[in-house]
């Protein structure tokens, strides 16, 4: 699943640690999501989208493999 977290994070001037603290996961988890090595659960994806003030589809794009 593709995502725009890195770009949105840069726009808001947030570090991975800041985002992790705000979402309630570890910094390693944010890093893994950003690098698309790990797909977050639906609640985590919604929390991330809400934090950036965007709809979930503006942050995450599902790709058929």
């Amino acid at each position: 699943m593709k995502n725009r977290i890195k770009v949105l994070r840069a726009e808001k001037n947030l570090t991975q640690g800041d985002l992790a603290d705000a979402v309630g996961v570890s910094r390693q988890t944010i890093n893994a999501i950003e690098k698309e090595k790990f797909d977050p659960s639906l609640p985590t994806a919604f929390r991330i989208a809400r934090l950036f003030g965007r709809p979930i589809e503006a942050v995450f794009q599902y790709e058929v493999e």
Binding site: V25, S26, K37
Partner: protein
């Protein structure tokens, strides 16, 4: 939200501390049963049974504390733990039974001790956690 995360970190540290205490107690009581049976109470069966009961109860406490720690992990950390535990369980079953067969068929000149299996489990689990953590991070 940041305060909640900080509380979570504090709670995780507390549970980790509790787990360390439970583990230490479990190892100590295990040692007391093994050495005490011969050296301290001269083979008295009821004292051995009682101390073994205490050891098992502490072991159960340790397992439940470990479960509490798992419940405090986030989704990726849980996935890493789950994959590591699954691999460790499977490999221990396969290698353990193979090792036992080696003993039964006298392919090895020594007895297959359960301690060897526990050692293998520990090494396997640590290696799996390290490899999986590296894979996702």
């Amino acid at each position: 939200m940041i305060k909640a995360k900080s509380d979570m970190k504090t709670k995780r540290r507390q549970v980790l501390g509790k787990l360390a205490v439970w583990t230490l107690l479990w190892v100590l009581t295990e040692a007391i049963v093994v050495f005490g049976h011969k050296e301290l109470w001269d083979g008295s069966k009821w004292i051995t049974g009682l101390s073994l009961g205490v050891n098992v109860l502490i072991g159960i406490g340790m397992v439940f504390t470990y479960r509490n720690l798992m419940n405090l992990l986030d989704e990726l950390e849980r996935k890493i733990q789950l994959e590591s535990m699954g691999l460790t369980l499977g490999l221990t079953l396969v290698i353990g039974l193979g090792y036992s067969v080696l003993d039964i068929t006298n392919m090895i000149p020594w007895d297959a001790e359960i301690g060897n299996l526990v050692f293998f489990m520990g090494i396997c689990y640590i290696a799996c956690v390290l490899i999986n953590t590296r894979r996702y991070c």
